[in-house]
Symmetry: C5
Subunit: 382 residues, 5 copies
């Protein structure tokens, strides 16, 4: 029964990173089209169903089931987790919809990704839309994946956009090895565990931004340049996108921990309260980073003004020193017939003397003004 | 019966684009004028009535009816959609008002366009004011059109400012060809379908702004110039206008999905919940774009400062190199009688040597400071 | 009975504009003074009472009544509108207070202008404080006038600061000529009509600001200058003042349309709902203009930066071209005895040739950089 | 009995202004110290008790009573106002606390100043903390003083930080001379009168800021300079401090006008509603000034940019005119043996002619560009 | 019994300051890990338990107890404060969890620091998470330490991250010496005392920021430089972090003062109301400082612009004076054969005369313009 339930068998992490830039899109249909239409992305991966069915004593795992093959497990008094991975197979998804008696709009919400996170109370099941994130491994930014949960009596149906979410694997592993309380408690606890994994996935992403902001902070104060400005803009843009994902999730969790549909036990609601706290913490962190990034933009602008002042001071010093000197040598380049200084034997040297004196006086004046600090100072040290 | 109900017969899309710039106007009367006065815009198109009447078995469509001719259809046990297109005929509009027993203020709201989106509960019907948008095909920006819905028992009365809204045609087509559930469900479902088409019409408009913002983003970082600033201002201005349309619509949908007038069935309210989600998504997207546009203005300003610094550095380098050289040649242009260097045979060449040495020293100094990067760099690459 | 009720007899519009600059003041008494003290502005116009008394059949109008002379009309079963114009006569105002049994604080609120718009429920009457505006005809800005309404059973008492409000005349005219429903409905409908006229008076003022903002918009992009900045500041200041007037009015109308004092009938409350919508629209418009004005300030600052960059580029181009040339002519102005070029017959012309070549090279370089565009370009076209 | 109750006997206004800069401090104890500890400021004035006891017929006033000497008055059926002035005498304050049965925390709140304005419902009395302000007579800014009110059955106990509040004197005077309704109504009306005087004291302070902002406004547009920037910063800082005082007071009054402790009669609550309106007005005014000050900072920055542009234009004009001239004279200072122009008799004058022509052309060019306006223009007129 | 309860025995203040920079972190687990897992920081100090048990007559203190050894005290009718100091011993902490019947999530919250401040109602105890701060003694900024309170019937369990909190010692001392009411009242009063100490600890930290802001204020106006900008950024960053700690604490206290779990008596709730007021005051102060810091950034930017203007004026003055002089000496350096001035005996001196006159005219012109003020003025005085 536990035959093919081996830990390595569910590592479906796709090798290449999705190039995801459109942080701000939501799915939308052509205006006026039939509500409940499924829009299958031609690049989406073919759907497959993975069933994990367990009670305190046994746990089995079946891969690539047909929707109909799930039915016997639903009737048993066990916890059945039907995980639909990939949203590329229209027929299979519709079949799932029929078997689980899903409203066309519900099916639309889990299939036409991305949607805004939300929770909806249907008659005999709850729909939860969540957005999972993790740091983008190859470049800056993060990767997003929608997970739809349909929580019914004794079963949990999940729809995953991709199979890149390794944090669910830890839950699968806990089921397999009967760690913790997962096998003792019901399907609502399983839902909590998955939501908790989903929410906790925001922390490493947020931490990434902390590091990027700190790097910008240091650069801006040491050596403000164009790259910092771009990077700062990107950070702000991505934090804005991140906030848009976590805020509705916070509302979702707040709703769930007070849910009275009967599908979530009081005990699990206490766990969800904890999960809500985490969502709150992430929201707060992201808001704080947004404010920091905003302050940094001001610091950057002030830094630019500083640099400008330094450059202008340098130019002014140069001009102020050489303008009088050039004037003096001009004077003795004049061709007046009667210029007494010219005949004097010491004239040329006296002229040099005067010019050196003027230069020295000006240099010492600027030095005392603090204008004459070496040009590299603002760049390399402070 | 289905005689003249051909798909091509209702393509009333006006050829030329309206030039609509006054995104921020609302209609208003002269202060102190009689409430309920209809103000017919002399340029408004003459009104015509198009009736679509259907049940599960039949669907008929009549064009250019008189208001009185609608009466028999209202009494039948079918869904009657009376669509008033164009708001230019005062008499016809007043006649409609009388036949459907509309309050003068209600009639004023649907005729004196534009009004703020809202929902109002009248005794035996609901008034819904919506604003439809679509991208302006000829230039940047969007086109707005008011649609007034009066939802009564068994009938839906709509007032359209123009006939430029092609998204309603898809609904008409679905009625004609009996696609989906439209013929099975009542007039509330029809209202939902039209509202859904109206809301979904905001998505392509929002997407337009995404593209414009991205274009500005790229330009500002590569080559900031005045045009970008103007474009950015226009984008902000239009997003502000767009937000003003979608926010009250969101409230309208939130009200409708909880409406207890009895005119909207529980099933359709679930559909409206989905429609409300879409309105929420659009609001969020527009807010996000507004924030991005605001950040971009800051990026633009920093870019300008950067450019200024580059120019100043260039000027400073030029001045710093030529000031000492001009001084030196000035020195040997002086006419002192006793200047030993002048008599020396190697004097002239030594002078050149010194000047070249000074130039080389300064150039290498600025080079090491990173000041001497070629001038085209900030413009063409980075 | 309708003898002196001629349309021209109530045109009390004062000829000269009040010079009103203190948009942000409220009336206040010396701290610690007796509550309910009337403060008569010595420049205020003497008060006079105009009574309009009507039912469906008759309408009479009496000018310059004494407060006592109003009493008989109050007892009749008609609608009595007692309009107190001008707040300069303390005795008369106090007499009105006694006859209508007004609380000293209420009287203070209508007499010591300006007060914040509000609605207060007294035992047998409602107090409504409103602020009327209209565009200032002689200069930019707007003119404000307080109107206090005391709505009782069968009578409406109004206190007008001045007699500059022509929009009430249209209502008077409708009473006289028995237009619309005013003579059929009660005193609450009359109150609505006046409030509606008051609110609708904000639209032309708001439109003024739209035009001013558009003018600034065009100027700033074409030719940013100091005047625009001042004008922009004034617009922001006045919009801030306008918002302070309309926001509490919005609350007032929201309260009235839900009032349960029994003084306002359900039918009139529906009319007030419409009036509330208008207040909402005005608030929205003003907020939008405030945001636009704020964006324009940023556009202005960017424009200034742009201009600066253009000027600096011009200066840099000039310096870069003439610095080397001046150096070269300096070289051949040196007095070394042995300078082979000087003796050459072609020396002078070769020197010119070199200088022209250098100039041409620099000009073409700057041209390719796009720096050399004519100076008038940023000002006159783009 | 009314012997020493003369109007001049209660003018306790301290001569020197307190130098109060710490607008943002609240009192705080060492963390971990016993709650209810009184902290007597060593510089605080010694406390004295002034009792005013009155009914409709009589009013007596006793100065420098001991707390125990107040007891007989409390038992009489009169209104007793026990005013504790100065918070420097710990023993006396504690005795008062015992006699009036004050909770240690309440006593702490009235003695350890400043505290945040608030209202607290104790069993048989209400605690109200208010902050009184008045313009600083010697320099800019305002002076703050805490007043604690303890309102019980038949008595009012007030604790004043200093005796600088002349607005309470007007109330005392009204009691003495039996003006207005103060002697007819109870202790709650007295509390209202004092709160009203306290609130109305904010108006002159706010007006001060209006004048300062207007002065800055004019200066910034005419002649922006550093002093304006500092002044603007101070204004913003003080308005921030002022807002922090008035906002909680607004809440206090809103609570009091709905208080159901039985200590405030319905009639006085109507008076408090008026007082609440005033607090609202002050909050609004201060918010408006804060926004204006914020706009002015932007105007100032734009002004600076304008000045910079003017200076740069001047520099550019000077450089552009003299650079070619200096080049030309350099050309004819060259020592080439064969330079035909030099031998020409008219050469020198032709050279001057060419230089004048160039200068004239450049000047007229800049003139047409509008660059050449005299330098004093932006400073002295516009 | 009171043997080892000596005042010096509980001074556990760690000598070295923690270097705490990560103001914005919250603790988080690997996504998908088992809820309720304790994560022991390897650098955490080993846990030890200190028990203080007292009633009105006796107070004992035991150090380094095992969890089991606490059990007898819990059963007695005394107040038992079990203080767990240091979170480094997993076994001991788990044992405590079992003995006090703590939910795994609760234990996780007190052990896996830092967590967001909150209050949670468990069946027979309350969980309160607080964050204690104090000024960092060695450098700018503050030090944070989490304190978890578990308040049950007759006992208080606290978990302290470190032992650096000296403010709790004052409470311990009050218990030992039976000062104040602590020995008379129950465990809820003890909780209040500790929370009060925790909250009051924010005041000195806030005061630090007041001083830092004032120092920046003075510097920015006197001599704006880069260091101020950095310091300002740090202040803003730390105030943001501080706000994030105090805001949820405010909510915690607001919840506690209305708690209806029966664990907090009405009397203590009145004390908590006072404590809530303090939290409110701190929030307000921090918000005010944040606004001030934000204004200061604008002042800094304006100051920079001012400096720039001064520098540019200086450069312009220098250029404007020397450009014409250099031109004139150039003129008389020309080699035209016929230049009448050159032969004149007075030519040279006349030339000097003209040049001096021009210089004097320009200097006096700039002087009148106010441009010529000495360069040090903006830096050292004003």
């Amino acid at each position: 029964m536990v035959d093919n339930f081996t830990p390595d068998s569910y590592l479906y992490i796709s090798e290449e990173e999705k190039e995801e830039e459109d942080y701000f899109d939501y799915f939308y249909d052509q205006p006026g089209s039939e509500p409940g239409t499924l829009n299958i992305n031609p690049e989406a991966q073919p759907s497959k169903i993975i069933l994990i069915d367990y009670d305190q004593n046994n746990a089995i795992r079946k891969v690539d089931l047909t929707p109909n093959a799930c039915l016997p497990y639903l009737e048993k008094n066990t916890v059945s987790w039907i995980d639909v991975q990939g949203l590329g197979s229209e027929l299979l998804l519709k079949e799932v919809g029929e078997i689980f008696n899903l409203h066309p709009l519900l099916l639309e919400d889990v299939v036409n990704v991305p949607q805004r996170p939300k929770v909806e109370n249907h008659k005999d099941h709850l729909l939860i839309i969540g957005q999972m994130v993790r740091p983008n491994k190859e470049e800056d930014g993060f990767v997003r994946e929608q997970v739809g949960f349909v929580l019914g009596k004794g079963y949990l149906l999940t729809f995953q956009e991709d199979q890149i979410t390794d944090s669910f694997d830890l839950v699968r592993e806990r089921i397999r090895t009967n760690q913790g309380k997962v096998r003792e408690l019901g399907v609502d606890y399983l839902t909590y565990l998955l939501l908790d994994a989903l929410i906790d996935g925001y922390f490493p992403v947020a931490e990434d931004y902390e590091q990027r902001i700190e790097a910008i902070e240091e650069q801006i104060i040491r050596n403000p340049n164009r790259k910092m400005m771009e990077e700062l803009y990107n950070v702000r843009r991505e934090l804005l996108a991140l906030r848009r994902l976590i805020w509705p999730l916070q509302t979702v969790l707040n709703t769930l921990r007070r849910d009275n549909s009967g599908l979530i036990s009081a005990e699990v609601q206490m766990y969800l309260r904890d999960c809500y706290d985490h969502a709150l913490q992430i929201s707060e962190i992201i808001e704080a980073y947004r404010e920091l990034a905003s302050s940094l933009m001001e610091v950057y602008q002030s830094s630019m003004g500083n640099r400008m002042n330094e450059i202008m001071k340098f130019l002014t010093v140069i001009s102020t020193i050489f303008n009088p000197l050039t004037f003096i040598v001009g004077v003795y380049g004049m061709n007046f017939e009667y210029m007494p200084e010219l005949q004097a034997k010491w004239g040329y040297f006296a002229c040099w003397g005067i010019m050196l004196a003027i230069s020295a006086a000006l240099v010492s004046y600027f030095w005392r003004q603090g204008w004459f600090r070496p040009l590299d100072e603002p760049e390399n040290k402070r």
